[in-house]
Subunit: 351 residues, 2 copies
C-alpha cells in the first residue's frame, strides 16, 4: 500500500455511554472496512488490552492497532475545562495530544462534547485565519441527502465574520467529505428575503455575497430539513437549540407513534406488518449514519460523536475522520478562508 495514503486516527476508547465496548466494536468495524486506517486506542491499557480479542481486534486488524495509556476519563458530569486542569491524563486529552505531536492525523471521541471541543481547540490549536472553530452537525434531509448545519454549539454571540467563516468551512466539509459538488450555502434566518434577519445575519450575508461561492441567501428553519441547502450556517446558540430540539422532537414522535400502536391488538398487528418499512425509513433519519460532528477550524481533524453511539456510529465517525484527512479538509479550509480575507478586511476598515 502506498504509504502516503495511510492515516492514523486516535480514538478516545473510554469516551461515550457505551465505552469501551462500543468504541472497540467501532474500531474493529472501521479497521476491517478501511485498509488505509491505523488506529491508536487511547485509554486504560489494563482494561482495554484484554478486550481486544473479544472485539475482533486480532490478526491483521490488531497489527494496525496500538494502545496508548491514559489513566483517567472525563465523565459527562465533568466540566469541559477539566481537560486543562485536573484531567490532563484523561483519554480525550491524551488523544488530542497525539494529534498535536504529529503522532496521529485526527482524533475521534464519543465522550463529553464540551471537553472534546476544549481539548481539540486548546491542545491541537486553531488553523491560521480561523477566528473560532465550530461544530458541524450533519443531518439527513428529506431528499435523503445530508445537510450540514453549523455551528451547533461551539460558540455563542458569534460575530458576522465568524458565521461567514462557519459557512465556508461547512462548504468545504460538504464538498470534500460528503461529496456534494458546489454545495449550496444558506444563512439561517427568519425569512427568505434579504431584509429578514438579525444584525448578525445581515452583516454575515454581506460578507458571503462578496465571495465566489454558491451562496443562496437566507435559509429558514424548514430549510434545514427540506434539502434546499447543503450547508446552513448560524451562530452556535441557535444551532445548538435546533440540534437538541430536533433530536427530542423526532424521538418523541417515534415513541408516541409506537406507544399508540401498542395500545390495541389490531394496531399492534399492523405495526408488526409495517415494521420493516418503518425501520427502513428510520435508518435514514439515524444520526449514526453520518458519523459524528466534525469540529472544523482546528489544526488536525477532530470528530465528536454522540454519547449514545454504538459500534456502527463509532465506525462511521472514524470514517468521517479518515475522509477529512484524505481530502485534506484543513488545506481546503485555509484556501477558502483566504478568498474571504480581503472582504473581511475591507469591511472592517469601512466601519
Amino acid at each position: 500500500m502506498d504509504i502516503s495514503s495511510v492515516y492514523r486516527i486516535a480514538l478516545d476508547a473510554m469516551g461515550g455511554d457505551h465505552a469501551p465496548h462500543a468504541t472497540l466494536d467501532g474500531a474493529c468495524l472501521a479497521l476491517a472496512k478501511h485498509p488505509e486506517l491505523y488506529l491508536t486506542l487511547v485509554g486504560d491499557e489494563a482494561r482495554l488490552r484484554p478486550l481486544l480479542k473479544h472485539h475482533g481486534l486480532v490478526g491483521e486488524l490488531a497489527s494496525r492497532t496500538e494502545i496508548v495509556h491514559a489513566s483517567s476519563v472525563v465523565t459527562m458530569e465533568d466540566k469541559p475545562t477539566s481537560v486543562l486542569k485536573d484531567k490532563k491524563d484523561s483519554s480525550i486529552r491524551v488523544a488530542t495530544q497525539l494529534v498535536r505531536e504529529g503522532k496521529a492525523d485526527g482524533v475521534v471521541s464519543m465522550g463529553n462534547t464540551g471537553a472534546a471541543m476544549v481539548a481539540s481547540v486548546m491542545v491541537i490549536g486553531t488553523l491560521d485565519g480561523v477566528d473560532r472553530p465550530c461544530l458541524a452537525g450533519v443531518f439527513p434531509n428529506m431528499k435523503g441527502r445530508p445537510t450540514v448545519l453549523l455551528d451547533v454549539g461551539a460558540n455563542v454571540d458569534s460575530k458576522p465574520e465568524h458565521v461567514a467563516q462557519f459557512a465556508l468551512m461547512g462548504a468545504v466539509y460538504a464538498e470534500e467529505v460528503l461529496g456534494i459538488a458546489g454545495p449550496r450555502i444558506g444563512l439561517l434566518s427568519v425569512g427568505e428575503e434579504d431584509s429578514k434577519g438579525n444584525e448578525t445575519t445581515k452583516a454575515a450575508a454581506a460578507y458571503l455575497r462578496e465571495i465566489d461561492i454558491n451562496f443562496g441567501g437566507n435559509a429558514e428553519g424548514r430549510d434545514i430539513w427540506n434539502g434546499k441547502f447543503d450547508v446552513v450556517a448560524c451562530d452556535g446558540f441557535v444551532g445548538n437549540v435546533v440540534l437538541k430540539s430536533s433530536e427530542a422532537l423526532a424521538e418523541g414522535i417515534i415513541k408516541g407513534l409506537r406507544d399508540s400502536i401498542n395500545q390495541s391488538l389490531r394496531a399492534k398487528l399492523g405495526g408488526l406488518l409495517a415494521k420493516k418499512a418503518m425501520k427502513g425509513f428510520m435508518k435514514k433519519l439515524d444520526y449514526a449514519e453520518y458519523g459524528g460532528a466534525p469540529l472544523l477550524g482546528v489544526k488536525g481533524v477532530s470528530i465528536i460523536g454522540h454519547g449514545r453511539s454504538d459500534g456502527r456510529a463509532v465506525a462511521n465517525a472514524i470514517r468521517a475522520a479518515l475522509r477529512a484527512c484524505e481530502h485534506r479538509v484543513n488545506d481546503h479550509i485555509q484556501e477558502s478562508l483566504h478568498r474571504m480575507l480581503p472582504v473581511a478586511t475591507t469591511s472592517s476598515d469601512a466601519r
Copy 2:
C-alpha cells in the same frame, strides 16, 4: 345571559389559505360552542353574505354574527407594512381597527402573519410597560400538555429585559388561558447550568431570578418538547427558527413513514390496521388543537392562526381569543410586569 360575560371577536374572514370557507366554518363551530361569543366577520360583504347560510350561520347563530365590509385582502406576498399604506382597507386592518375603537374585544386572523402583527401593534397599540409585543407558539409536549414558546417571530435582537418580559407574558397566558397553575418558566439556552448561554440569556436570567415567579432556570432545546417547562422564553430569532424547523421535521417524519409504508403491500396492510391508533397520536401533535398564536402585549386580544387552518383550527383560535378576554389576560400581564418593573429599573441604573 349576564351581559358582562359576553365578548365580541372580530374575525378576519378573508385571511388564510382556505378563506373564506375555513373562516366561516370556524365561525359557525365557535358560535355553536360558545353562547357568550359574538362575532364580527370582516371582509368582502358581497362575497360573505351569500355564504353565511351555506356555512350554518342561520337562526340564533346568525343573530350573534355581523359583517363589517373591507374591500381588500392582504395576501401572503404582500409586505407586512402594506396594512399601514396601500392596504388600509384590508380585512385584517379593518378588523384590528374595530378593536382599537372598542367595537370588538379581540381580533383573530389566519392571514399574513407579519401583516397581522404589524396591524395589531400599530393600530391597537402596545400595553403600558410592554417594550415589545411577542408572538407565543403553543405546542403539544410529550406529556400531552401544552408548552408555550415565545417569542416565535415578532422580534429579533431582543434585549434581556424584553426576553424576561416575554417569559412573564407567556406565564400569564399559560396560567389564564391554558389553565396551568403556577407555570414553570424556562429560559431557552445551550445548557442547564446558569453559566451556559449567551449575553442576552444570562442577563435575562438575572432579571427573572429577582422576581417572585416559578423560574426554573435554563431550558435546552429538548425541553421545548419534554414537558419540563410550561413556558420557554427566547428571542424571536431562535423561536422562529425552532418553530419552522420543528414543523418541517414533524411533517417530514410523518410523510417519510407514510411513503415507506406505501412501498409494500404487506406494510400498507399494516398501516391500515394501525391507522386509527396513529391518527389518535397525530391529533395530539396537531397545532390546530391549540388555536393559533397569541400576540401578547397589545391593548386588546390578537390571535394569529396558521395560514393552513381549517374550520376546526379557526374555531380553536376564536376560543383562545375568547378565553384571553374572559380571563382578562392583559390586566394580568400588566400586574405581572409591575412586579418586574423595579428590577428592570435597578438593573438599568446599575450599568
